[in-house]
């Protein structure tokens, strides 16, 4: 008989060949775990190649998930359970497994050939090298074939169901119901009865195998997390961005237009929005990145909410047009789902190294507001804020997310649409006295007159504008004035955005300043450090341009300022330049989220120094 153990939180990692369906398996485990009511955070980690050569180290695809009975903010540093579908997956991921962690390995995949490909001289499942772990060596391929003996398909095709067998084992182990996945299989493979049968059978067989054999002695339960009441769903960053844009469009009365071009890891925004024609969403897959942003600007000029979404290399191509939107003062949301760079870099990995690109990546003085999402679900709110400020200030706005946020998932408390405020920003009307570059003194924003408005015909362009009239002007003083006005306008955004997250005392030894997707790691690290008795304060920036007004005063009240980032130190340079403080960076640029324990150690060093 197995025994049942309560756990507070668990980190599990599914790993296999990029053709083994590990992303799908991890996503299913996530969906089920969300329905069970745990808090969770995920980290898909996969190679850029669609089908890297089977069995190789660089072809390993992983999906990590932390779930818990309390609030969590990261996908976990160390893994408690590793599901390894082949030797390469074991080799690559063993370093992340904690001492005495659980390994579920597909013994059938540990052939001589695969061992060699992974660089093992002996079979680690048999040579005792995994002694410090709880090893469950299961012939998953063979058992899957046996379970599917009555299904009319080739053994090759049957082998494709082995990930469901592995998933079944983990469902038993963590006391998860099968229903969510069974239902999903039916929907996903509708019209292909043999696939429905095979995958369902494999899932059930895995579960029953774990239940019936006495290989596994313990099941684990993780209680529901205590979260605020309401209706929840699981959401990824790219989904949340897409939904936020649709809501902002409807709330502003400006139909959504997305001009895009396929690029990892931003394409999902295009895919998702393309489905919503019945929400009056127009998506336009342009011939290139430049046309993507150009069409979005054109659409905004016609009165739509123009948006373009890409990643670093694509943003580089768009930069001339973004500067054009700065000059013509046309609303535009530019989403950069950051990935590892430079150049093509690490397309499927995460990084925060495009902050400078957002700040400075244009010719001339071309300031624009920048907001960064802090978690997958926060992408919803930031997308709405970005759209709102773009419309309100007639300006391009950068929304920075990254590969981790885009593909990572967490539970999301679904808001009531009626509670989301309208975005009421008027357009100029026929019959009004109209000067294209006359500004609202509160925002310094100009009012747009869109084509179709009688009597307000006017011309805009990328040449310098004369104040008020918007006519072409080469006048030196006018240019100086316009450069200043465009900068001041961006500064005015500060008065219309929510304050940053701040915790701790207003003076002390250490202030941490973070931005974007490091939120979860910093949250956990700060929590940990405080448990150790460190008195520290933390400010997390969502809007990075303009910087929050309160920061200027606050920052000088601390002996040390630490800025953790997944880049070689970008925000830290901006902070140093802006406030003349000796801020220090903390960076690990590995294409992965920062690790909590590393940051805790770094924090400690500031206190030990004293």
């Amino acid at each position: 008989m197995s025994q049942s153990t309560h756990l507070d939180q668990v980190t599990i990692r599914f790993a296999g060949d990029s053709g083994d369906g590990m992303q799908l398996t991890g996503t299913q485990f996530t969906n089920t775990t969300a329905m069970v009511g745990n808090d969770l955070s995920t980290l898909p980690d996969y190679p850029a190649e669609i089908r890297a050569p089977a069995g190789t180290l660089f072809g390993v695809s992983g999906f990590q998930l932390q779930f818990s009975s309390h609030e969590i903010h990261t996908p976990g540093d160390q893994v408690d359970v590793l599901v390894a579908m082949n030797p390469a997956a074991l080799k690559v991921n063993l370093q992340h497994l904690r001492d005495n962690g659980i390994i579920i390995a597909n013994a059938d995949a540990f052939s001589i050939r695969n061992l060699k490909l992974a660089g093992y001289e002996q079979n680690p499942l048999e040579d005792g090298s995994l002694e410090g772990f709880q090893l469950f060596s299961v012939p998953i391929t063979r058992l899957t074939r046996e379970a599917l003996v009555d299904v009319a398909m080739s053994s090759r095709d049957k082998d494709r169901s082995k990930n469901f067998f592995a998933l079944g084992i983990t469902y038993w182990m963590f006391s998860r119901p099968l229903e969510v996945t069974l239902k999903w299989i039916e929907e996903k493979f509708a019209g292909k009865p043999e696939l429905i049968e095979a995958n369902k059978k494999a899932l059930n067989a895995g579960y029953s195998y774990a239940l019936a054999t006495e290989v596994f002695t313990t099941t684990y339960t993780v209680e529901k997390a205590k979260t605020a009441p309401g209706t929840y769903r699981k959401i990824t960053g790219n989904e949340a961005v897409s939904l936020g844009l649709i809501v902002a469009a409807e709330k502003s009365g400006r139909p959504l237009f997305l001009g895009g071009y396929p690029i990892t890891p931003a394409s999902d925004i295009l895919h998702i929005l393309a489905k919503y024609r019945h929400y009056d969403v127009k998506t336009f897959q342009a011939e290139d990145e430049i046309a993507g942003v150009g069409s979005a600007i054109g659409a905004s000029y016609s009165g739509a909410l123009g948006v373009t979404a890409s990643s670093g290399p694509g943003i580089a191509l768009k930069s001339e047009f973004i500067g054009y939107a700065v000059m013509t003062e046309i609303p535009l949301v530019v989403i950069n789902v950051q990935r590892g760079g430079p150049s093509t870099g690490l397309p499927t990995k995460t990084e925060q190294a495009d902050l400078f690109q957002a700040f400075y990546g244009r010719n001339g003085e071309a300031p624009l507001p920048i907001v960064a999402a802090k978690s997958p679900a926060d992408c919803f709110q930031t997308a709405m804020e970005a759209a709102h400020m773009a419309i309100k200030f007639a300006t391009p706005v950068f929304l920075l997310t990254d590969g981790y946020l885009a593909n990572g998932a967490e539970p999301w408390l679904i808001p009531d649409v009626a509670d989301i405020p309208e975005i009421k920003e008027p357009l100029a009307l026929a019959g009004e006295e109209y000067l294209p570059y006359k500004r609202d003194p509160k925002t310094l924003a100009r009012t747009m007159a869109v084509p179709g408005t009688e009597g307000l015909e006017h011309r805009l362009g990328g040449l310098e504008k004369e104040d008020l009239t918007g006519n072409v002007s080469y006048d030196p003083e006018n240019h100086h004035n316009m450069v200043r006005l465009r900068r001041k306008k961006v500064e005015k955004v500060a008065g219309f955005i929510p304050p940053p997250d701040f915790s701790g005392e207003e003076r002390g030894v250490l202030l941490i300043i973070s931005w974007g997707s490091t939120y979860g790691t910093v949250f956990s690290a700060v929590e940990e450090a405080r448990k150790q008795g460190r008195q520290l304060s933390w400010i997390h920036l969502r809007w990075i341009n303009p910087l929050p007004e309160m920061l200027g005063k606050l920052i000088h009240n601390f002996k040390h300022v630490l800025v953790p980032e997944i880049n070689a130190g970008q925000l830290v340079k901006i902070i140093r330049a802006e406030y003349l403080v000796d801020a220090r960076g903390f960076d690990r640029v590995r294409g992965l989220p920062l690790q909590t324990h590393e940051l805790v150690e770094e924090i400690s060093s500031y206190f030990e120094e004293q």
Binding site: F321, G452, L460
Partner: protein, 342 residues
């Protein structure tokens, strides 16, 4: 055309002054651009659209100053990218009448990619390509339509490049209206532009435009009234390919290529058709401008009805709405698996 529309137009009868902005025109005196501007201002009253629904979009170059001189909506864009702006403008508001003003460098060099994809998609905009075979605004470098061997500042020993043939490109890229006209033939220009503007779908007009500063006389052979008729064959729907001062020559199609022959009235003379010319003839006709001893065809090469991208998009939206119902935001947010916490 129904009577209501006609009445409305009567009420709103514009003159060319209505389309003239208060900005001083800043092209070099004698530039061919003036004529194009004048014809555009003249034809717009006849187009029968409200001027607030007209948008001129341009790129960068001498020609691209054009929108500033029209009292309509206008966007002076960035180099080569006018088609991208125009696509977004038209797709966001299909009621607008959108013109793209571009040049040989703008459309065929830096903006080549956008240009061909605009044609391919058949978005309902009208493209005017001012071809002067030179970079004017940057003061005289060879362009993608300059002839091989051309001596310019950037090709002091002669350009090494074969020029593009803009009409051939537009035809190959799938534009549904393709024509050529000339700055110095104002009547033909006005009529061609009007026909282009009326066409639903991507309309392309190559306009031979003289840059009297950096490439004077590039089209003299065709535009000078003394030599024009021996060097130009005007394309007219349902009419023979006749040309010559005495109208005494014509183009004969031998099944493979065109030949210039003396005109003889025959029983079944070959006539031009704009909506279903075989590809081989269409292409051969476009190629004549590159060949010695042939007249340059001026007029409409192709005018074909086909569904426009903008109309298809509108239709698709309606269809999805019909099958799925108008979207409901709350339902959208709650899509997928949800769970409730009390």
């Amino acid at each position: 055309m129904n009577t209501i529309e006609t009445l409305e137009q009567k009420e709103k009868k514009y003159t060319k002054e209505d389309f003239t902005s208060d900005q001083e025109v800043r092209w070099c005196p004698g530039c061919g651009d003036y004529s194009i501007l004048a014809q555009m201002r003249r034809l717009l009253p006849d187009l029968g659209v409200k001027k607030e629904n007209v948008v001129f979009v341009s790129g960068i170059g001498c020609s691209s100053r054009f929108p500033y001189y029209m009292d309509t909506y206008g966007l002076h864009g960035i180099h080569g990218r006018a088609p991208a702006l125009a696509s977004g403008i038209k797709l966001a508001n299909p009621d607008l009448t959108v013109f793209v003003i571009t040049g040989d460098g703008d459309a065929l060099s830096i903006g080549g990619n956008h240009f061909i994809h605009l044609c391919r998609r058949n978005i309902d905009v009208t493209v005017l390509l001012f071809n002067n075979r030179i970079y004017g605004l940057t003061k005289g470098q060879y362009s993608p339509t300059s002839e091989r061997g051309k001596i310019t500042k950037s090709s002091p020993y002669g350009s090494l490049e074969e020029p593009f043939n803009p009409v051939k490109m537009a035809l190959a890229a799938g534009a549904t209206f393709v024509a050529r006209s000339m700055d110095r033939d104002p009547k033909h220009l006005e009529a061609t532009l009007l026909e282009a503007a009326r066409h639903k779908g991507t309309s392309f007009v190559e306009i031979y435009q003289n840059c009297n500063i950096f490439n004077d006389g590039a089209f003299e052979k065709y535009t000078n009234i003394k030599t024009r008729f021996d060097n130009v064959v005007y394309l007219k729907n349902e009419q023979e390919y006749r040309f010559g001062r005495e109208n005494d020559k014509h183009l004969f199609w031998d099944g493979h290529r065109f030949r210039v022959e003396e005109w003889k009235a025959t029983e079944k003379p070959l006539t031009h058709t704009t909506d279903n010319l075989p590809a081989s003839m269409e292409f051969a006709l476009a190629e004549l401008s590159e060949l010695e001893d042939f007249p340059v065809p001026v007029g409409v090469f192709r005018k074909r009805q086909a569904e426009t991208y903008d109309a298809l998009l509108t239709k698709q939206i309606e269809e999805v709405k019909k099958s799925k119902g108008q979207g409901d935001l709350q339902k959208l947010l709650e899509s997928g698996n949800t769970w409730h916490v009390d």
